[in-house]
Amino acid sequence: MRLQLILALVVWSRAASAQVADQESGKGDVKGTFAVYADDDATSVVTSVVDATVRLPVPVTINAHALVDAVSSASVDVISAATKRFQENRIEEGAAVRAGVGQATEATLGYTHSAENDWQSHALEVGVARDLAKKNAKLSIGYGFTHNRVGRAKDPSFEAMLDIHGAQLGFAQVIDRRTLLTLAYTLSHASGYQGSPYRYVMTAGEFAAPETPPEARTRHALTARMLRSLGLATTLDASYRFYVDDWGVVSHTLELATSHAITDEITVRVRARGYRQNRADFYREAYDQPMQYMTVDRELSTFWDAMGGVKLGYAGDSFDLDVKVDGILYKFADYQRLAGRVALVTSLGVTWRW
């Protein structure tokens, strides 16, 4: 039962991948991941990540990661702005410390920095988690703050700020010997510039203007997830997420996955996800008069997507290997310049443990 609880906690919080106090001193792992995203809107992203964790002699684990995203795009957004294909890199590095406080409580402190040619961010996260009911339940609370500096390519004089405060409350409960349930509520508030300096609202022959979204946005998300063991070799993973914000966006996400252990070392996972959102109150594909708030960001339009994928994993004594392929179909209901998009995401991960 405790093993199952640990499995569930992996799902809803990175800070809960295992109890610090339960890990052996000196143990750790290094994982390298290489992923490629490509879609039929002329965009590709190649992601390389290295992530390492080690347990110190005291009940503390140290984690560090570095990530590089190489983006190349000539999407409809880029072409609409009358510019050519662009290529840029995003580099992220971060570290986190997780400390056990007694046998039942642990605290987490993390920092992440991300930089690209027109964006810089600094993110700080703190969290506390406590086991309850003889480790059959776990309660966690976390807070994060991100400070973003938004720039514009080739334009050192353009600078806008975006600050985001976020909090999460999570609860995991072992329901029975085969079932775990997790619930998480997240609240975030963003203030500052939330548009794109490259995007313009255009109505041919009438008016044009830089897009002007509101400077404040408050978001709520509630996620419920259930993990259920179906025999010794098969696990079912189901989740639902409800999201709402004060820009008028409401979304629903449903995901189902099943993992099956083919042998002691090899596991296959199949998953499917559906997402649906309605547009922000002020979103229009075309405006017929200047409005107080305007955006043509298709991520704020009404759309749905469906994702399906397969993951094959090998777990050896000292190293793991996983290969993953996901296909995603997007359909935009009120964005005629791009009615839909098909994307393929493939990744290869290798973990070395000691």
């Binding site: 334009d155 050192p156 203007a209 709402v244 002020f282």
Partner: protein, 161 residues
């Protein structure tokens, strides 16, 4: 679902994001006489803003026209063209996220405090306005600041260099 209701109610109260913008105090006659000549002379080349592909898309005699026959390209601006140029230019007079209105900051050379402007890359001799004392820049700035002109005004000829 019952517990979600207060959240939905809270969000519902926060709407009102879909209202029209307040009308900026921009004078149409000043635009016709002092701004349009600057835009026509300094910005409306076909490779620049005399193109429907640009967000700031401008009509001008001898360049992109609307409702004017191809064999009379140098006809004076029509009222419809002036209205459209006024509406398009007005959209770039609000303060940008970085501070200055784009209609002033983009054509101003970065050495004088302007923003990056691809036009300065295309024409390597610098940006449209190299300094804030350029007569053309001053007229755009005056319009945004609320300058007015009588209905009898005549379009200026001095638009800077």
């Amino acid at each position: 679902m019952v517990k979600l209701f207060p959240i939905l109610l809270l969000v519902g109260c926060a709407t009102g994001l879909d209202g029209p913008a307040s009308e900026p105090p921009l004078d149409r006659e000043y635009f016709r006489c002092d701004v349009q000549p600057v835009l026509a002379a300094r910005c409306s080349f076909p490779a620049c803003h005399g193109s429907a592909r640009r967000p700031l898309s401008l009509y001008a005699p001898g360049r992109m026209r609307y409702g004017v026959n191809w064999d009379r390209p140098k006809e004076p601006m029509t009222m419809a063209e002036l209205d459209m140029n006024f509406a398009v230019a007005s959209g770039f007079t609000s303060a940008s996220p970085a501070g200055e209105p784009l209609l002033l900051a983009k054509p101003l050379d970065t050495s004088a405090g302007g923003y990056y402007h691809r036009g300065a890359d295309l024409y390597t001799a610098g940006d449209v306005f190299m300094a804030k004392d350029d007569p053309g820049y001053r007229m755009l700035a005056s319009w945004i600041a609320g300058a007015t002109a009588p209905t009898t005004c005549q379009p200026v000829l001095e638009v800077g260099q």
